[in-house]
């Protein structure tokens, strides 16, 4: 189902219908020429490929985005307070708002960091929050919080530049929010928590799926792009190894690799990547890590259930943006509801990401549902169930025709002294009609997001 057309949409289509559609091919030419890639491994082979792009942008009015902005600021503030509390006083657990065992069983909870408070007490610096717009009540709903290594911001940034060159009429004729400030938001966040030294973006390397983004954000934010072995830890201080062997002190690291690969001395000793000793430097307060180690507990799909409670607990406010109705089989009452209604629910494995481990009850056979119930019963903490949200489709121009596709929206929220929401985001659409999975790793494409006013 499509959202009702607004005057802003009408203005877009008025200009779109006057444009030379042959020029749409230029977007792909641009992405190929500039290797705007999202790489993947298939059958053991490294494949360089660009993300599918659709020329029709998602349009959000400035007024509507203001509510999203406010709601996301509130949510990320609460999530930061939750993480700081959980790893220090743990009042939220002691007061029974979140069950202790539920937190401690989260795979992203790292007990080794209990008692440690990072620079400026900020833990979730650069965040990607996934939302959809519910067609039932026209409200935006939060689907997922990504507080570890959310990717994707470089794609709308790159494509907007190209869009302005190929079809300047839209940008001359419409009042579209500019978006070039995102790298400076990241630079501001790194600078705010920096403990003294240069800022670096830490990439696993050229064969990572998002290497393009790492390189792009380092260049645009003015940080140095480094691979793990290009950092060295001496006396619990982190140094950048310059080409001539000189060591330059590092004050903040925007890490683009998962916690378990960050430091082989601390986490996985078999890891070939990572910076040995960086955790010691971090715990000594000699370097800031963005995002903080141990954030996985807050973007756990089970902990998501408690975020509205966190907002009320820490901020004393009602949540501005709502969660999708979620049930935890961990609680007996919820489990009963899930088992009675499994065929209409979406069941998610909390340990999975990228659209993996998501099962739609309406697509399952009776036998599969019975099997799933057995699995859920044996390990209730591993799953959550959600009501299926009929979120709006977006109009897409695919294969030279206009079609409707399900689309979500990843908003980027960056924390420095203040919490700021980027006035853009990554709109991801499913390639097939009716598919609810829009993730890039599931073959989904992306489109630009225009925050506009008349």
């Amino acid at each position: 189902m499509l959202e009702k057309n607004t005057e802003l949409h009408a203005k877009f289509w008025e200009i779109f219908n006057k444009q030379d559609r042959h020029k749409i091919d230029e977007f792909q030419t641009y992405m190929d020429k500039f290797a705007v890639n999202f790489n993947l491994y298939k059958d053991g082979n490294f494949i360089e490929q660009s993300l599918p792009f659709d020329v029709v942008p998602r349009i959000i009015s400035k007024e509507e985005f203001a509510k999203i902005d406010k709601g996301l600021q509130q949510r990320v503030k609460a999530l930061n307070l939750f993480l700081e509390d959980l790893y220090t006083d743990a009042k939220i657990v002691k007061e029974g708002i979140i069950p202790e065992t539920f937190v401690k069983e989260a795979s992203g909870y790292l007990k080794e960091f209990v008692g440690f408070s990072p620079s400026q007490k900020i833990r979730a610096h650069i965040n990607g929050i996934d939302l959809v717009k519910d067609s039932a009540d026209d409200e935006w709903v939060i689907l997922e919080d990504n507080l570890r290594v959310p990717s994707g911001s470089s794609y709308p940034l790159s494509i907007r530049d190209t869009y302005r060159k190929i079809y300047p009429d839209f940008f001359e004729g419409l009042n579209i929010e500019p978006i070039k400030n995102y790298p400076s938001m990241i630079a501001e966040s790194m600078g705010y928590v920096n403990t003294g030294g240069i800022d670096v973006v830490l990439t696993p390397g050229r064969f990572n799926s998002a290497y393009y983004e790492h390189s792009y954000l380092a260049e645009k934010s003015g940080a140095q792009l480094v691979r793990p072995h290009e950092l060295k830890v001496v006396d619990k201080k982190v140094y950048f190894k310059n080409y001539n062997g000189k060591l330059i002190r590092v004050g903040s690291v925007y890490k683009r690799l998962d916690d378990e690969f960050l430091d082989p001395k601390f986490f996985n000793p078999d890891s070939l990547i990572g910076v040995p000793g960086i955790i010691d430097a971090y715990l000594a307060g000699n370097v800031a890590l963005l995002n903080a180690v141990g954030n996985g507990v807050a973007d756990d799909k089970g902990i998501y259930y408690f975020v509205p409670k966190m907002i009320e607990y820490y901020l004393g406010e009602k949540p501005i943006l709502k969660n999708a109705p979620t049930y935890l089989p961990y609680f007996e009452e919820d489990r009963k509801y899930i088992f009675d209604n499994m065929e209409k629910l979406v069941i998610k494995d909390v340990a999975e990401a990228g659209g993996y481990g998501v099962l739609f009850g309406h697509e399952m056979t009776a036998l599969q549902i019975a099997d799933l119930k057995t699995i859920v019963k044996a390990n209730p903490r591993r799953f959550v169930a959600q009501e299926l949200i009929e979120f709006y489709d977006e109009k897409c121009y695919l294969n030279k025709e206009l079609v409707n596709r399900k689309a979500d929206f990843r908003a980027y929220v960056v924390v420095a002294e203040d919490v700021k929401v980027w006035q853009c985001g990554l709109t991801r659409y499913a390639l097939e009609e009716g598919n609810y999975l829009v993730n890039s790793s599931q073959g989904g494409g992306f489109k630009d997001t225009w925050v506009m006013e008349l």
Partner: protein
């Protein structure tokens, strides 16, 4: 503060310069040699590749193009441009974006030959050389603004010196190329002491290249 560059990026910028210049110089030689093979000297290609220590076999002028560009040997243009592309991707945050795009296009030009089975003709060489000229143009806009650009420039000059020595070009001009390499080495090594001057007349070709490479290894500390 001086610009910071990791050894990996410095090395890749250096090799990007070398591989682009290698492709450029080799394409120029291929173009001239193709012309000779058509109706002047059928063995001109064999002689050219002997200079590269490669035994090249071909049936006719068009086959010479095919073997020179895609043949299984170390001076293969497809591989040279693939190496340039790889270096560009690794160091893309230090390269002019237009130049980066042209480098990707340059490799795609040769890569498409493998995928399409099209016959190679001389126009491809013109096209590739135009692209390389555009890359130089885009890069020269900022060639001396950052230290990282000097690694690229140094790679280009080292390859140029290599070709000049290999083909016995005017020694005086070769010396000016080498002097520029020495000057770059001095800036990059941040050493106040005057750099040792390298003279093309003073040694044979392989000694000179070894000497230049030693200096470069002293600049980039892995």
């Amino acid at each position: 503060m001086d610009q910071l560059v990791t050894a990996n990026v410095a090395t890749n910028l250096y090799w990007l310069g070398r591989n682009l210049e290698r492709a450029n110089q080799t394409l120029y030689k291929i173009s001239k040699t193709y012309d000779l093979i058509v109706d002047v000297d059928r063995d001109a290609g064999v002689k050219l590749y002997k200079t590269f220590d490669i035994e090249l076999k071909y049936d006719n002028a068009v086959d010479f193009l095919h073997q020179a560009i895609l043949g299984e040997h170390s001076a293969n243009i497809l591989e040279t441009t693939a190496n340039a592309r790889e270096s560009a991707i690794i160091s893309r945050h230090r390269i002019d974006s237009e130049a980066f795009g042209e480098i990707i296009e340059l490799h795609a030009l040769f890569d498409s030959l493998v995928k399409s089975d099209l016959e190679i003709d001389y126009k491809l060489i013109d096209q590739a050389q135009s692209l390389i000229s555009e890359i130089w143009g885009a890069l020269s806009k900022r060639e001396h603004t950052n230290k990282s650009d000097l690694f690229f420039r140094m790679g280009k000059l080292v390859e140029e010196a290599d070709f000049r020595l290999r083909f016995n070009k005017d020694a005086a001009i070769t010396d000016t190329v080498i002097q520029e390499i020495d000057a770059i080495v001095k800036v990059l090594s941040e050493d106040d002491a005057p750099a040792n001057q390298t003279q093309s007349q003073s040694s044979d070709e392989s000694d000179l290249i070894t000497l230049i490479n030693t200096k470069i290894h002293q600049v980039i500390v892995e």
